[in-house]
């Protein structure tokens, strides 16, 4: 389940609750973010330039979806199943290592 290191889609199945006692006591999400593939909303796509990246992970913190993960080599990877193309990461990156490019479908 840990999207931080890229094991992203484990457990990404839609949870359907059929009995009231299956519900959590408080209305908290039950992994719904993982089963919600926001990647198909996208027009622009972030592209990371590892040469410019200083591994500050500001993009990881700001990304509103579970779309940015930290690769084994310490650079950031983008999971395009979840990246909705909002461009927040590109805007926040202090070294301008991320550019938003029009996605060709």
């Amino acid at each position: 389940m840990n999207t931080l290191f890229g094991e992203k889609k484990e457990g990404a199945t839609k949870i359907v609750l059929t009995r009231v006692d299956e519900y959590p006591e408080a209305p908290i999400s039950l992994g719904t973010t993982l089963s919600n593939f926001t990647g198909d909303w996208r027009t622009f796509i972030p592209v990371v330039d590892d040469d410019k990246c200083v591994k500050c992970y500001i993009c990881w913190k700001f990304c509103p979806e579970p779309a940015i993960y930290i690769r084994e080599d310490g650079y950031v990877g983008i999971d395009y199943d979840y990246c909705k193309g909002c461009g927040i990461c590109a805007n926040e990156c202090p070294t301008k290592a991320i550019t938003m490019e029009k996605e060709e479908k």
């Binding site: 519900y23 959590p24 006591e25 209305p27 999400s29 719904t32």
Partner: protein
Amino acid sequence: MEYKPIRKVVSGNYAAAYAVKHARVEVVAAYPITPQTSIIEKIAEFLANGEIEGLEYVPVESEHSAMAACIGASATGARAFTATSAQGLALMHEMLHWAAGARLPIVMVDVNRAMAPPWSVWDDQTDSLAQRDTGWLQFYAENNQEVYDGVLMAFKIAETVNLPAMVVESAFILSHTYDVVEMIPQELVDEFLPPRKPLYTLTDFDNPVAVGALGGPNDYYEFRYKIAKAMEDAKKVIHEVGKEFGERFGRDYSQMIELYRTDDADFVFMGMGSLMGTVKQAVDVLRDEGYKVGAAKVRWFRPFPKEELYELAKSVEGIAVLDRNFSFGQEGILFNEAKGALYNTNAKPLMKNYIVGLGGRDFTVSDVRKIAENMKAIIEKGELDVEVDWYHLKR
């Protein structure tokens, strides 16, 4: 450790502040509004003097933000507190739903104050009662002691059922009036009120949760039911915590309705908050004068003590419901609730609603006597004169 109370002469507001200190609250959201301000001032003073440790004191720019800050704090697992009055409480309204909906056991003192206009800072219960449908537990204190005890119990009850709780005291009559309050030594409060065990926390990174997620028509309904059930469960918890409080500290709060000389009473006065102190005093006077009367003080308005009311209603001929509040287009709010609670039972005492004390209008022992005379007359006749009596009206 043997219980030896520490007696202090404090205002109702200071009693609340001491209880917050003794409850080891971790986050206080502070915004001033008369007559609540001296609660958060006193807490700030404790902090400045180094009398409280580990407290995050968050000055905010409105009551809406105060409740938002408490919600955030409570969601991380912290014990959170704030205080307000009237317009400030109304401004929080939206956030009150968030607190209860997210099942966060925040405790708040509301100093009952009349809603404007006309502008008023005096006692009136309409502010808190207007929040009755937000999912908050509501405790009404009769005196400064009950403010102190109420805050401590509210945390324990709220954290057991995971719903927020409001402790309500009267503007000025309690908030700014000094009285002896028996306080509990810190170690004994710690035993009574251990650290909170939250349902979830935002800082448990191994089990991440999103709070306030979307609940579609397929799920929303179930979460509402869970709140309704938690409210129902709260009755038992209130009973147990109130009983435990009595066993440990000598003041028993096991009953949601405190009965005073009701055993052989023909009729009773029912109401909430500080006015019930006056009523109890009046009951003693009236008993000496030969009236068989008693008092029923509703301590908890949410959850509503339906079962206890039914037990009482079975044994009396009449109930004079004293409402220091009003729901326009209908009647006094406690009256409305009490009548509704009894409708499907076989207890049908004559019930009359007296609207008293709105906006801080004095309510005295002689007022209770006049009401007793009127109640006696209608019970003898077997029918009401009017159902809702604007008792003080200058006619």
